[in-house]
């Protein structure tokens, strides 16, 4: 999915500082609530965005002008909500993390690993997930579809 109309974006730009995670969670929860997602979907969206923010905190680096900004855009769509989390650094390599997890799993150590669950949590919480290297950083794009009552969540 590609958003053509950038004016529909509800945007929040945050400093690279973990204390802003709570603000981000409240922000996305409120938007999802206004968009009439059910409580379980709201929790999923909150987790996914928070984990993407935490990844950006850990892997983003300052740009040439010294700014460390994490930008979150929320696009409420007719049947879904799309969220992008864009950090201003070189980002991280999700494949490298995935490989490390697979290695850990082979060693039967993954259950007791102290890190590496964030990407799993994003993948489990959202319907579509994509990582893009963009010229000025890394962008995580996530989509959650709105379920009908008959479909459940």
């Amino acid at each position: 999915m590609k958003i053509e109309d950038q004016t529909k974006c509800l945007m929040l730009s945050l400093p690279n500082d973990p204390q802003y995670g709570v603000l981000l969670r409240k922000f996305v929860s409120w938007v999802a609530m206004l968009e009439q997602f059910d409580i379980k979907a709201i929790e999923d969206i909150e987790w996914a965005v928070d984990e993407a923010f935490t990844n950006a905190l850990q892997h983003g680096v300052p740009t040439v002008d010294g700014q460390e900004v994490i930008t979150v855009c929320i696009y409420p769509l007719q049947d879904s909500i799309e969220i992008t989390v864009h950090d201003s650094g070189n980002g991280f390599d999700p494949e490298a993390i995935k490989c490390r997890q697979e290695e850990d799993a082979r060693d039967c150590e993954f259950d007791l690993a102290e890190c590496g669950r964030g990407l799993d949590l994003i993948a489990a919480s959202m319907d579509d997930l994509q990582y893009d290297r963009v010229p000025d950083g890394t962008r995580v794009r996530m989509v959650k579809h709105r379920r009908t009552e008959a479909e459940g969540t």
Partner: protein, 124 residues
Amino acid sequence: MGNVTNFAVETKVACAEGAVVAIVGEMDAYTTPQVKVAMQQMLDDGHKYLIVNLARAEYLDSTALGALVGALKRAREKGGDLRLVAPTARIMRLLDITRLSKVFPIDATDEEAVAHLSAERTGA
């Protein structure tokens, strides 16, 4: 921003070698370091059995889970253990998604956790 989530970590001695660490509020990348310090302090004080009470924990993320796994490993290195108490439905769902519900023993109350730990200590 200050303490906008009313986050707190409460600790108390539960039994010989055992301590309760209660999480209040949202445990995320910002607040998790406080919990890590509290759990490590309890272990350093000789409490190798940790009971982490989640009844008032409103939110946990992957950094929080990492801290709990780390404390579990350190407790077991000392011959102890870590048990979770009263996770909310939301946190239980998180534990299931991450498969950690199979790693952490989970009890309904602190008293139940103490009873299990006492049995472990005595080998009953």
